[in-house]
């Protein structure tokens, strides 16, 4: 299968690979997917408690090039966004940006799930109710 140039770029030069200190209260971690399905994404955000802005985002992904690119792109988009804006990131935005083919749409869904899971982890750490995830 041919990958788009943007997928290849994110795969070859992934942005923001790494690990944030999950013991910190202002760090939210989302771990989604399953090894049997061939995709596991871990996406972390660090939030400025005063402004509610995401100051840092890191990921590690076990998956195909599209899964790696989707999570890499997600971290790029998350940095500097407010939590509210981050929640507006839709998987179809990722599909469009990376020109993912239909068989790879699930990678973008997983990235959106990872964003929401990270936000909810941050919220629960800070005694806020979780956002409903579809």
């Amino acid at each position: 299968m041919a990958y788009s140039e943007k997928v290849i770029d994110h795969y070859s030069n992934p942005r923001n690979i790494g690990t944030l200190d999950k013991s910190k209260n202002n760090v939210g971690t989302g771990l989604v997917g399953a090894p049997e399905c061939g995709d596991v994404m871990r996406l972390q955000i660090e939030v400025d408690d005063l402004t509610g802005t995401i100051t840092d985002a890191k990921f590690k992904t076990f998956g195909c090039g599209s899964a790696i690119a989707s999570s890499s792109l997600a971290t790029e988009w998350l940095k500097g966004k407010s939590i509210d804006d981050a929640l507006k990131i839709d998987n179809m935005d990722i599909v469009e940006e990376l020109a993912l083919p239909p068989v790879k749409i699930h990678c973008s869904v997983l990235a959106e799930d990872a964003i929401k899971a990270a936000i909810n982890d941050y919220r629960s750490k800070n005694n806020l109710l979780p956002i409903e995830v579809q």
Partner: protein, 404 residues
């Protein structure tokens, strides 16, 4: 200078040997006759070429010329063997035994026959890919007419104990068919030595052209018959009608001749290169060889790299053409059924690579493949959350994963 990408998917298909191509070329233009035309020199010359090629194919597998039925390839040969025996021996029984690790051309043919009344036993293999002979013996019934076991597996290269299987099959009065697609021309596949009654082969896995193959059908001890699956002009002694693919047959014959003469030296050289590749890659932590290490083809290896996803890995080894056990791009998310049959967990099946070397593979190419694979595995593990958890001593099986 290395020419990239490097082709290491020779279990899928091989390039045509230039010597084979040279032999074929005149049969497209100058000697274009129909081998069945008995009344002029165009036909005679074509027939002569077919006869010589048939002799070469037969010689390679220790058969007689009259025992070779040319087909379009091993898929057709498997269909003809299994359906043909099932129909021809319907009075004797309706039970067929095969393995879960067979090629789809065998499995799906059996499934097709099940719909028409056949009973099929799909034997599981052991964790190294080898058949369990005691289970085979126990599965034999008075109504068993055919046992179909591949000579060497296309994904892991494991060679089954053919002599022992043949002994069991014949003791119970059944016929023994083998899909020898991967083995012919690579290792000794003498039909008499191994007691094979029907054997499928194809040219394009042994430096011959695509679209030509053969079915070996034993003529004595016992005399085996198959019901034709393609009706028409009665070519190939009535077992496979259709105008003979003369250039293809000539190429197949030449490929068999070369294999007979060069197989041993190719195998010796390639097993050294394969071992070098395999040993280097197994130096990586958490990498595992799939299949029996002793009983297998000399030119291929199949290795799983834990905590790395197969398709991502394929992308990382972009300058080498290999196959993966991952099925991420296909409609189903199921990884290789062959690796699953060995008892591998899905994650290990997903993260496997199959390397197949050829007569044309060089030492420089293998060294390049080693380096690129090692780099890709290391890079992907550095970005894998599973690898990080493994390194922290977390048991991945203790985590509740959300299946999606």
């Amino acid at each position: 200078m290395l020419k990239l990408p490097i082709y290491l998917d020779n279990n899928a298909t091989t390039p045509v040997d230039p010597r084979v191509l040279q032999e074929m070329l005149p049969y497209f233009t100058d000697v274009f006759g129909n081998a069945a035309s008995r009344n002029h020199p165009f036909g005679w010359k074509a027939e002569e070429a077919v006869d010589y090629a048939r002799e070469q194919v037969a010689k390679l597998i220790g058969a007689g010329e009259k025992e070779i039925i040319f087909t379009s390839g091993a898929t057709e040969s498997n269909n003809l063997a299994i359906k043909g025996v099932y129909e021809m021996y319907a009075e004797k029984g309706n039970h067929i035994i095969t393995l879960t690790t067979e090629h789809k051309a065998v499995l799906d043919t059996c499934k097709h026959l099940e719909k028409t009344g056949a009973e099929v036993t799909y034997l599981e293999v052991q964790s190294d890919g080898m058949v369990n002979l005691a289970q085979l013996e126990a599965a034999m019934r008075p109504t068993t007419i055919l046992v179909s076991v591949m000579f060497a597996n296309n994904e892991i290269g494991v060679i089954q104990p053919m002599k022992e299987i043949a002994a069991i099959v014949h003791k119970h009065g059944a016929l023994f068919h083998s899909d020898a697609t991967q083995a012919v021309g690579k290792v000794n596949t003498d039909v008499n030595e191994f007691g094979i009654d029907l054997m499928s082969l194809t040219a394009h896995k042994m430096y011959g052209p695509k679209g030509i193959g053969a079915l070996y059908v034993r003529r004595k001890n016992p005399r085996v018959k198959v019901t034709a699956q393609i009706d028409g002009g009665g070519h190939e002694r009535g077992m496979r009608s259709g105008t003979l693919n003369v250039p293809g047959i000539v190429g197949f014959g030449k490929a068999c001749e070369l294999a007979r003469l060069e197989m041993d030296q190719d195998a010796a050289r390639l097993s050294v290169l394969r071992n070098r590749l395999e040993n280097s890659l197994l130096e990586l932590e958490e990498s595992y060889l799939n299949g029996n290490k002793e009983h297998r083809l000399p030119h291929c290896t199949n290795i799983s790299f834990k905590y790395v996803e197969g398709e991502g890995l394929m992308m990382g080894v972009k300058d080498i053409a290999v196959s993966s056990g991952s099925a991420c791009t296909s409609a189903s998310l199921e990884p290789s059924y062959v690796l699953k049959a060995l008892g591998l967990d899905d994650d290990l099946a997903h993260s496997s690579l199959r390397f197949g070397l050829s007569r044309f593979t060089t030492e420089q190419e293998i060294d390049f493949a080693i380096n690129q694979t090692k780099e890709a595995v290391t890079k992907l593990r550095d970005m894998s959350p599973l690898w990080e958890m493994f390194k922290e001593g977390i048991d991945l099986k203790s985590i509740e994963w959300a299946e999606h």
